[in-house]
Amino acid sequence: MTGLIETSGLTKHYPAGDGVVAALQDVSLSIAPGRFVAAMGPSGSGKSTFLNLIGCLDRATRGSYRLMGEEVDALSHDRLADLRSRRLGFVFQSFNLLPRADALANVELPLIYRGMPRRQRRERAAAALAAVGLVDRMHHRPTQLSGGQQQRVAIARAVVGSPDLILADEPTGALDTRTGLSIMALFQALNRDGVGILMVTHDADVARFAERVLRFRDGRLITDETQNAADAAAALAALPEADAAA
């Protein structure tokens, strides 16, 4: 069967000074639909470059990448934007919410670029916010929300377009442990509903919630292991009740 993601010999070079930096070299792998995959490695290991290539934000220097059977390297800017819009959802470490817009408007944003009529868009965005547990925060601005709530808005924005894959770049990097766990629990819930997740992290504590871990070093994929994912909801429940909830 066709994988969600299939790469072969994926390589990315950046010009740097006199020569080039090989940010990613010869990565060949396949990811089936609906999996929760973590990409690990220290800074400069190539994990972020890999994420950008998979996210259709960048083009490979060499090699091929197929997203749901579609060859990505040959596509125009507009087609790439279209792929991002229909197939992918992004979650960032720093949330990247529009500060002037309320939660609902932030979640609506991807649907605007799909030309969805306003009423339908608002209903859908409200449903996405309800799904991440923010039904009573729809008209709050990002500054009126906690970090965990902001990341939930960002996740609602990522799933509102019914993507096949969520790309998450250090999604818990700016959050405390408890909040981070709640975000992982949310990811696992989404994943159980069939959404694929590719998460970049340097934190093994976070990577244990994925069912497959890719390790990068110096631009190369060095290990590719499946594991029994830990249950984030259970880990959250096991935390001492001491501090205020996220």
Binding site: D78, N96, R114, A131
Partner: protein
């Protein structure tokens, strides 16, 4: 917890709708309200200045045009030349060498001419009951009213028979009627000019000032031969003299050709030798109009260039602020690109903001310009006329300014690399 939403129908069209884009641009501009207002100020001032100056200029032009048209269209005024008496040249109109018969000859012999009417004027104290008023008595024939396109407001004009028979009838100008009879109807009443009683048969329609600022309604009209016999005391030498001849040229005929023909005819009738200058001078009122039009056009061109400079400066302001805005919102642009905006969506977004910024300045400028026009009209007493085309051009030009000066910043935004944009601090 279930997060799956129903899939989006494949038929959903791609592309951002106009209303959404407008809403987005408006909210971006209002986020930096003061900055937006200050940026739009340059365009605002330019547009307001254009609207106000064009309105005032147009009002003045219309006033001149109305004055000139009030004199009559296709009108030539023939003045007596400088008669020389005993070696002394008397200057134009000093002592007229024109006669009643010259007017008749012009009407008869020059095909371009529709009517030609001689007239002579003199100031008298006119008396009605216990009122009196010093005014110009103009002695002429009925064709004068045709030449000057002048009609009676009440009563009637005198007939050619009355003119020829010397009946003592008079038509009052509107000002004179007011001075002598106030609210009463003068028609059928009697006035006296130099002790001679005249029957008022009509009152002329009001004409207002001529381009030289004289009140054309401060005049009474009497038949030429009546005046010559009864009030103007004709001597044998100048019994048929007229001061000026009013000539109306047929609609569509060449005024210059008619002028030349009149000059030639007058030379012949006045027996002017080939080496002497013309015996008459002719004023074509459309010449005055052309001169005034030309100076109005020069002024308009000057104003237009000032407006262009103002809009240029305003446009550079728009470009400057849009570049700042693109830099400030680099992360936002990166995010929009990541979640599915195409380059053209981002380009359109920033272009729309620039155009809206310029348009807000333009629209406010139109309103302020119109208000300013009316204030000027009240204070200076000039007529003003806000021209619809000036408003349209001002709004159009400010939109184009936004489009032109917004394009480069918008293009920069659209071509940002989403990865670096998202990392931008």
């Amino acid at each position: 917890m279930s997060a799956t939403l129903p899939p989006i129908a494949a038929t959903t069209r791609r592309g951002i709708d106009v209303l959404e884009a407008l809403r987005g641009a408006l909210s971006a501009l209002s986020a930096n309200l003061l900055r937006s207002i200050l940026t739009a100020l340059g365009i605002f001032i330019g547009v307001a200045a254009v609207i106000a100056t064009v309105a005032v200029g147009e009002g003045a032009r219309r006033q001149v045009l109305a004055q000139i048209q009030s004199l009559g269209a296709n009108l030539l005024i023939v003045w007596g030349g400088s008669a020389t008496m005993g070696g002394v040249r008397l200057g134009a109109g000093g002592r007229s060498n024109l006669s009643w018969d010259d007017a008749a000859a012009i009407a008869r012999e020059i095909p371009e001419v529709q009517v030609a009417a001689g007239s002579i004027r003199q100031t008298f104290q006119v008396v009605a009951g216990n009122q009196n008023w010093s005014t110009t008595v103009l002695a002429t024939e009925p064709d004068y009213f045709i030449a000057h396109e002048w009609v009676a407001d009440s009563g009637r004009l005198f007939s050619p028979e009355e003119a020829a028979s010397g009946r003592k009838v008079v038509i009052l100008g509107a000002t004179v009627a007011e001075m002598l009879f106030a609210e009463e109807d003068p028609v059928g009443r009697e006035i006296r000019i130099r002790q001679t009683p005249f029957e008022v048969i009509g009152v002329m329609a009001r004409k207002g000032q001529n381009p030289m600022g004289q009140d054309q309604d401060d005049t009474v009209f009497v038949p030429y031969w009546t005046a010559r016999r009864s009030v103007m005391g004709a001597s044998r030498a100048n019994a048929r003299q007229v001061g000026v001849i009013s000539v109306k040229v047929h609609e569509g005929e060449d005024m210059a050709a008619a002028e030349d023909a009149i000059r030639a005819l007058m030379r012949q009738r006045h027996r002017v030798a080939a080496n002497e200058s013309d015996s008459v001078s002719i004023r074509n009122l459309s010449d005055i109009q052309a001169t005034r039009d030309a100076s109005a056009r020069t002024l308009s061109a000057l104003l237009a260039s000032v407006a262009a400079v103002s809009l240029l400066v305003g446009g550079i302001g728009v470009m400057n602020i849009m570049l700042v805005s693109v830099t400030e919102r680099t992360r936002e642009i990166g995010l929009r690109l990541a979640i599915g905006a195409r380059r053209r969506d981002v380009l359109a977004q920033f272009l729309l903001e620039a155009v809206m910024l310029a348009q807000l300045g333009g629209a406010a400028g139109v309103l302020a310009g119109m208000a300013l026009s009316h204030i000027l009209a009240d204070v200076a007493g000039w007529p003003v006329l806000v021209r619809a085309d000036a408003v349209l051009i001002a709004v159009g030009v400010s939109a184009l300014t936004g489009l032109f000066f917004g394009f480069w910043p918008a293009r920069r935004a659209a071509h940002l690399d989403p990865i670096t944009a998202l990392r931008h601090e």
